[in-house]
Amino acid sequence: MLDISSVNYDAIFRRYDILVEAKEKPEDIAAKILPKDALLKKVAEDVVFMKYKDVEADTKAAMEKYKPEEVIEKALVKGMDVVAELYGRGIYYLPHVMVCADAMDKGIKLCEKNIKGERQTKGKIILHVAEGDPHDIGKNIAMVLLRSAGYATIDMGRDVPVVDVLDLVEKEKPDVLTGTALMTTTMSAFPRISERLAEKGIEMPFICAGGAVNRAYVESFPMGVYAEKAAQGPVLVGKAMDGWDWKKIRSKWDDVVKG
């Protein structure tokens, strides 16, 4: 190969990511958000710093002083809040989030065993990937973030027939339904779902996402609320839980997503 050692690569490309590499440390950001109480803090830190092996023991310890519900809310989910913040600032990468979520899940499982009856979640979400569409990575990421934010999720998987979605929604009555489509030839399942739900008199925000759809498309059918990134899932669902209907979420979409 030609000798390329003389090339001044500054004229060819710039590694902007290195130029602006974050100088902030995860520890400093965590400190601002984490609970003060030492026991809870320990659990939250296990989540933030992926201490997969310690999380169960520390959760147990915390439960000696706090109710399991409190450990979930004030330690495990709080830890994920830090993670979300770190991800948002580009300090953590996606896989960090996944591993942290695994740690959180471990702790939550343990807490749930100690809760009498069923654990109170913030709300119920059904997720699916459009009929004919095998692309499910985005949906999987979104699900992790929703679970981390304290929602109960039902994952219908991918290539899910329209009729199955309709049946399950009728049966489960979720607070929010989500759909993912990465192919322009499968995304037409969404308006079909929304129309049939409307016919049945069922109404709820139907968050649609995935590479194929855009905001204009999703807003062209009733109930459709667009999501561009998985991280917007908890924010949008949060508004639904605050009692906003799909029309209101849609009309304030820009603000919701930015804020």
Binding site: Y93, D133, N140, S188
Partner: protein, 467 residues
């Protein structure tokens, strides 16, 4: 059919590889020659949303609009040869007789007309869908809901019998594990999913594709690890993306090359699929023609090696564009212009015996833009090929070797100040090296470990791979 492993390189040296020439060139279709001294543009397209409504609307979209526009533009600009690629949409694979047959036949009839009228060399690749779902079952008889395994095989038959010149597919074996591995940055899981399970799945499907091609006297092209390595690459993204580090995607790509090679070992002849960026490694090992995409496939992918990846291609592709109007004509016509002119530049360089120089300019441009591009630079690709064939008979060992060699090359360049890695990329690279080195040194031990370690991965079912 027996699987013939690659245990030595078909090229004597990296420098012998150049675009527009393959050790085993091909002749097929309507006067088409691939790898025989010229680079041919390969144009790929997707129908407008809604066109899939019924077979008539779909055929009209594919034939009367898309194919016609492509052929008109090719003649308008004077391109001597064009290959079309039709990546099947779900509806075609789900009901090949009804949705695919009229499309395949209609396209070929129109191509024949232009070939007769203008003498333009033409061919079409049908990339059938692989809709098989791990959770339902990858082998015949398992998926009672959709019968996807059966339909996948039927797809090749319908394509072959009605006008396809080349058969390709993006197989999905091991994807459920590799998806999990990407999201958890777990190189071992990746190696298991793609290097091991993926290879086994290809060993099951590819002999069947080769059989269908033979029966119909057409070409069994090749595969791509789009499902795995491209997912990895796009999530690694560019300098604004923070999903996964680019060192991870670089290593996954190289491991994937050991998998995609299986198609050739089962009797496929190339050209491989454009979206298989592992193409340069495959070509170095096998000598078969390669389809690639980069600068001219921005309609679909913004990769970090737009020029580099043209270095040893035989077909130059746009990956895929949805049919729609542009100021310059329809989208397919516009993108054909982009890739056709690039092919013309390469062909001129060949005529003037400056092809190796142009190859090196392509390569130099993106040498250090990303670790993945760096690994695929033809000299490094060759080294990775060598690492693979040294362990050629063992799908596990060769995949691991590919990964280790990639990690080694990246670390070396970073130390010398060629590649410049971010902190996060460096950390990941170190972890990858440690993890790969810690792996057992036999496939059986590896399999045993992994079946245990990954048994709870969602949708993973060992039976899909005969395990």
């Amino acid at each position: 059919m027996a699987i013939k492993r690659f245990t030595k390189m078909e090229y004597k040296s990296a420098d012998d590889m150049v675009f527009g020439e393959a050790k085993y060139p091909l002749t097929y279709g309507l006067g088409q020659k691939i790898g025989a001294g010229t680079v041919v543009p390969e144009i790929n397209f997707a129908p407008r949303p809604g066109a899939e409504k019924n077979p008539a609307t779909l055929t009209r979209e594919y034939v009367d609009y898309i194919t016609k526009d492509i052929l008109d533009r090719a003649v308008t600009l004077g391109f001597p040869a064009v290959q079309l690629e039709n990546e099947w949409i779900h509806q075609m694979g789900n009901d090949p007789e009804k949705f695919a047959k009229p499309v395949v036949a209609g396209q070929k009839a129109l191509m024949q007309k232009y070939h007769d009228e203008y003498g333009i060399a033409l061919s079409i690749r049908h990339t059938c869908a692989d809709p098989r779902l791990a959770e339902k079952g990858l082998r015949p008889g398992m998926d009672k809901t959709h019968m996807y395994p059966e339909k996948t095989i039927e797809s090749f038959e319908v394509a072959a019998e009605n006008g396809a010149d080349v058969l390709s597919v993006e197989t999905m074996g091991g994807k459920e594990v590799s998806d999990y591995a990407i999201l958890h940055q777990d190189i071992k899981g990746w190696l298991f999913g793609i290097g091991y399970l993926g290879s086994m799945d290809m060993e099951w499907i590819w002999p069947q594709i080769v059989e269908v091609a033979k029966k119909n006297k057409i070409i069994a092209g090749g595969d791509t690890n789009c499902a795995g390595a491209n997912t990895s690459m796009f999530m690694a993204g560019g300098y604004l993306d923070k999903d996964i580090p680019r060192t991870f995607s670089a290593v996954t790509r190289c491991i994937a090359s050991a998998r995609t090679l299986v198609a050739y070992e089962c009797g496929a002849t190339g050209p491989d699929k454009d979206c298989g960026y592992e193409g340069p490694i495959l070509k170095s090992i096998s000598g078969k023609p390669s389809a690639q995409e980069g600068k001219g496939a921005q309609d679909a992918h913004a990769d970090l090696m737009g020029n580099l990846i043209a270095q040893v291609c035989d077909l130059w592709s746009n990956e895929s564009v949805e049919y729609h109007p542009e100021f310059g004509g329809s989208s397919v016509a516009c993108w054909l212009g982009v890739i056709g002119y690039e092919a013309a530049l390469m062909n001129t360089a060949k005529q003037l015996k400056q092809d190796k120089l142009l190859r090196d300019l392509y390569a130099a441009t993106d040498s250090y833009r990303s670790p993945e591009g760096f690994c695929l630079r033809y000299d490094n690709a060759y080294k990775i090929g060598q690492a693979i064939v040294e362990e050629g008979n063992d799908i596990y060992l060769r995949s691991r070797a590919a990964g280790l060699k990639a990690a080694e090359l990246i670390a070396e360049s970073n130390a010398k100040g060629g590649l410049k890695l971010s902190k996060h990329e460096k950390d990941m690279l170190n972890k990858i090296t440690t993890d790969l080195k810690a792996l057992p040194d036999s496939a059986s031990k590896f399999e045993e470990q992994c079946l245990k370690e990954y048994k709870n991965v969602p949708m993973f079912n060992p039976k899909n791979y005969g395990l």
